[in-house]
């Protein structure tokens, strides 16, 4: 029996790891969930059935020593510099986000922007326009800066507060997720684990976690990656030694693999006021970071669909992103269009039913593509120039596209997209047509083998 400490910023971020934690508990291990949010002690319902072995504790949120305020500077600079490295040349939106997060965190919220004036032309140089000029240092100069801040990070000792926390908890293994956020202080937990010789690991949280967020500034003993692609990202983008990466698959989807539709297609269509005899197209919205004000784009898309001779009569279900659901509060769906119901930001809505009863799924760039693929639904996207920052400028978007070995069918224009949709409705692909992709991305250990089992095995093995 081992003591497993799982550090997350809040209990809500446990989603995706519940199966793994329950499995560990069922195997007799003690699981302590450490959050930095005071009072955040209410175990999610599924885990509360194992409350004899799973419990919550509060971890320090930041260092208590002289590095308390400055550490974020070391890490924030590196987070920004990574987006000036080869491979991220076009990742303007990610670079901007890294900068703004750094400015805000480093100033404790006092600063929200930086600005200067160009001497020669007098234009205002603001935020990334300003910081991006660092490119003028050349790759050698940028490398020198990166080396400076990395070397400093290596020599910053662990913090007594985090050391004391781990000493009290006495875990056999420390899991930290997502570890790529600037403000979480999670890197310090990994530092302390190393000091105390406690094995540590990062179970990767999402498909884009290693390529769109911050750096893993403190490399744990193990990275539990979803697939080969993520393993490569860990090595190439974060400098993780190959032997520290274990591929477990994506436990986040195990529940979905097991999920069954809550109702029949007829009942679903009736509930949403759609004609069950007509094909249903699902439009799954992306996060606000990928597509702000997506309703405008969705409106254009609906209009285009309606004008198409073969698609015009289709039912349409729009599934808002749970964290942007409020932006749809005043939306009045036109005829034969329904809005999927979402109760709160952590509600998955009726994602399974929406996808299951649809004939094709459309989205700009969202993790729900994977759920669609699990259900064998053909998946489409439109390369929208106004959302290039959340699509083409991210790394993971590309490797999900069919022409780059993925399963999402991209279209450079709405016209092409509509023809693709019409083709999919006219000749529906077989139910297993996406299996190899699902296996490659989510369950490299075998389609029938839940990733949460493999992750639980890997955690046990690390705990010794």
């Amino acid at each position: 029996m081992s003591r497993i400490l799982f550090a997350v910023p809040s209990l809500a971020r446990l989603k995706g790891f519940e199966n793994t934690l329950m499995r560990l508990a069922e195997r007799g291990h003690i699981v302590r969930i450490a959050t930095k949010m005071p009072g955040d002690t209410q175990l999610p319902a599924r885990l509360s059935t194992h409350d004899d072995r799973i419990s919550v504790t509060e971890s320090p949120s930041r260092r208590s020593d002289e590095w308390r305020d400055s550490i974020v500077g070391v890490r924030g600079v590196r987070n920004y510099l990574r987006y000036l490295a080869p491979g991220f040349e076009h990742a303007e939106k990610l670079r901007k986000r890294a900068l703004l997060e750094f400015i805000k965190t480093a100033s404790d919220g006092a600063l929200t922007q930086i600005a200067a004036t160009c001497g020669p032309c007098g234009r205002e140089l603001k935020n990334d326009k300003l910081a991006h000029m660092l490119e003028g240092l050349g790759q050698d100069g940028l490398n020198a800066l990166e080396t400076l801040f990395r070397t400093a990070e290596e020599d910053i000792p662990s913090d007594a507060g985090f050391d004391a926390f781990l000493s009290r908890e006495q875990p056999d293994v420390v899991l930290v997720a997502p570890l790529v956020s600037l403000e979480s202080g999670q890197a310090d937990l990994v530092k302390s684990a190393r000091t105390l010789r406690i094995p540590s690991a990062l179970p990767v949280v999402s498909i884009d976690s290693l390529s769109t967020e911050g750096l893993v500034t403190e490399i744990p003993d193990k990275i539990f990656a979803w697939n080969e692609r993520q393993a490569r990202e860990a090595v190439e983008l974060h400098g993780v030694p190959c032997d520290r990466v274990t591929i477990t698959g994506a436990p986040q989807f195990d529940a979905f693999f097991d999920e069954q539709p809550a109702r029949s297609r007829n009942a679903f269509c009736m509930a949403y006021g759609l004609d069950y005899r007509m094909p249903v197209l699902a439009y799954v919205c992306s996060s606000e970071f990928v597509a702000k004000d997506e309703s405008v784009f969705v409106g254009r898309w609906i209009d285009a669909v309606r004008r198409h001779p073969l698609l015009g009569e289709c039912g349409i279900v729009i599934r808002p992103h749970p964290r942007a659901r409020r932006t749809w509060d005043d939306y009045a769906p036109p005829p034969r269009v329904a809005l999927a119901r979402i109760k709160d930001r952590d509600d998955r809505g009726e994602l399974h039913d929406v996808l299951c009863h649809s004939n094709a799924v459309v989205a700009l760039n969202t993790g729900a593509w994977f759920e669609a693929a699990i259900l064998g639904k053909p998946v489409f996207t439109i390369l929208a120039p106004e959302y290039a920052g959340g699509q083409a400028q991210t790394l993971h978007f590309h490797y999900l596209l069919r022409d780059e070995g993925g399963f999402v069918e991209p279209a450079a224009s709405l016209d092409v997209h509509l023809e693709q949709l019409a083709g999919a409705l006219a000749s529906p692909p077989g139910p297993g047509h996406l299996e190899q992709h699902v296996q490659r991305f989510l369950r490299p250990g075998g389609l029938a083998l839940p990733a949460s089992h493999l992750l639980a095995d890997a955690i046990e093995s690390l705990a010794g």
Binding site: E66, S70, V74, S107, A116, C118, L130, G136, A144
Partner: protein, 476 residues
């Protein structure tokens, strides 16, 4: 040469004096000799690159020796630490007090550029994303000011914290262990991106007292930061004590005001010849008054020859000065630009060239026989003050960055309590010089300033034994 045998009985100690180059000992030669004469062992440690032979008086002393010491760290910090310190040095020049110091800031930025590019470039050119124009050097560096006061403070704190987390280098530690010195002295310590901080770090770990004798009057305001605080600073005067606190965060109690021993020899010099012989040697008429022009370093004034020609022409326009002889003293390190300067016979202009940096007899003679001294911004103005001479400067167009753009320039000005009269035009400059050659000079003010600036314990008390005492105290 000031050499005193100390009468007090103290235990003899071994003192390790670490220098970036052997030549840096010239400002402390009298102190080293005094300490050796008192019976202490003096070991001068210089990097292989900076190593040259010792001055004869030092080399001949049985208790003074020179050795080679490591330079640069041997570990993973070897290159990053230079970047760290160069960056901190540059950010230091973004402090409000240094905002007018564009030239100093540019120098700091170029040093940073060197460090960032593996010593391949001294310029960094950024491009405006809108107009695509180049934004280079200090203009590029000043973009950091977009962080605002709070952001810059945060950056300074971050860089300090990073420096503090850098552990001492084992090669430096080993060297100090092997030397077994009772105290370590390090100078100049604050050259941009200086690796000499490693000695302070290592000495502190070994609990060996470490002192920093400040090399010159401008060092605490024109160079880099003190990245690692020594146990003691030995400074010239109260101004430097304040600079140490204000710009380098050194607590007052860690600073000892000793005066400037480098001038002790100059104080005890005498003219080597009579006026007639001096003038004859330079082809000048001994009956005429002499105005000496002291050239500044290339950093302050770049190429000064053309300005000096203009200055001569301007001075000659005043009937009271027209007949005066003029002696030009090129800066000892900028002799090359004067190679083709050949004053014509009868121009009453002479050039005295000397490569001597300290206690230069030719300088002494020139100053001694002069009625007035002129210079843009140079240490030799202080030597002129030692001789009680009236000293003048002009705010010369084109040289602002080497004059008003430095903090130390202000200290010498009469308007700030100093002794150098400043003029903002040739008209007023001529008028000031005319007063001087007419003998209307207030020597008391000059003496008062010289005392406060280089011999704060008393104009007639040499700084050498005071600094020697302070070093002994550090070692005991």
């Amino acid at each position: 040469m000031v050499r005193r045998v100390h009468a007090r009985r103290i235990a003899y100690v071994k003192l390790l004096f670490i220098l970036a180059q052997t030549s840096y000992i010239r400002h402390f030669e009298s102190v080293v000799l005094a300490l050796a004469d008192r019976g202490h062992e003096l070991r001068l440690a210089v990097s292989r690159e900076g190593h040259t032979s010792l001055a004869p008086a030092l080399a001949a002393h049985p208790r003074i020796s020179q050795t080679i010491c490591p330079t640069g760290r041997a570990d993973k910090w070897r290159e990053p630490v230079e970047t760290l310190r160069s960056l901190a040095d540059y950010v230091h020049y973004l402090e409000p007090a240094f905002l007018p110091a564009e030239k100093l800031r540019t120098r700091a930025f170029r040093n940073l550029a060197k460090s960032l590019t593996g010593h391949e470039k001294t310029h960094i050119k950024l491009r405006c994303p809108y107009c695509k124009e180049r934004i280079a050097d200090d203009q590029a560096g000043k973009l950091l000011m977009s962080l605002g006061d709070q952001g810059l403070q945060g950056l300074r704190r971050l860089l300090q914290a990073m420096e503090a987390s850098v552990r001492p280098d084992s090669a430096h530690e080993q060297f100090l262990r092997a030397e077994r010195a009772d105290a370590v002295l390090v100078t100049p310590l604050i050259n941009h991106g200086s690796g000499q901080s490693e000695w302070v770090k290592a000495a502190r770990v070994l609990k060996t007292p470490v002192g920093f004798p400040v090399f010159s009057w401008d060092n605490l305001t024109t160079k880099g930061l003190i990245h690692e605080q020594p146990d003691r600073l030995f400074v010239w005067n109260e101004i430097q004590r304040k600079e140490a606190a204000d710009y380098h965060g050194i607590p007052r109690e860690h600073v000892v005001v000793t005066g400037a021993p480098r001038f002790d020899d100059f104080f005890s010099m005498a003219p080597s010849t009579g006026r007639a012989t001096f003038c004859r040697g330079l082809g000048l008429d001994s009956a005429r008054t002499i105005i000496t022009y002291l050239c500044s370093s290339e950093f302050v004034s770049g190429r000064e020859v053309e300005f000096v020609r203009q200055w001569i022409d301007e001075v000659r326009q005043d009937p009271a000065l027209e007949g005066s002889s003029i002696v030009i003293r090129p800066h000892p390190r900028s002799l090359e630009q004067w190679r083709d300067f050949n004053p014509s016979r009868g121009s009453r202009v002479a050039v005295t060239t000397s490569g001597v940096m300290n206690a230069d007899q030719l300088l002494y003679d020139s100053l001694y026989h002069s009625a007035a001294i002129v210079g843009l911004n140079t240490s030799a103005q202080i030597e002129a003050g030692i001789l009680g001479k009236p000293v003048y400067t002009m705010l010369a167009p084109g040289f602002e960055r080497g004059q008003q753009g430095t903090l130390h320039f202000q200290y010498l000005l009469a308007q700030n309590g100093g002794f150098v009269e400043v003029a903002d035009s040739f008209d007023s400059h001529r008028s000031q010089l005319a007063q001087a050659v007419a003998g209307r000079v207030d020597r008391t003010r000059v003496d008062r300033f010289i005392e406060s600036f280089i011999r704060p314990s008393g104009l007639h008390l040499p700084a050498t034994p005071i600094m020697a005492d302070a070093i002994e105290a550090l070692a005991s």
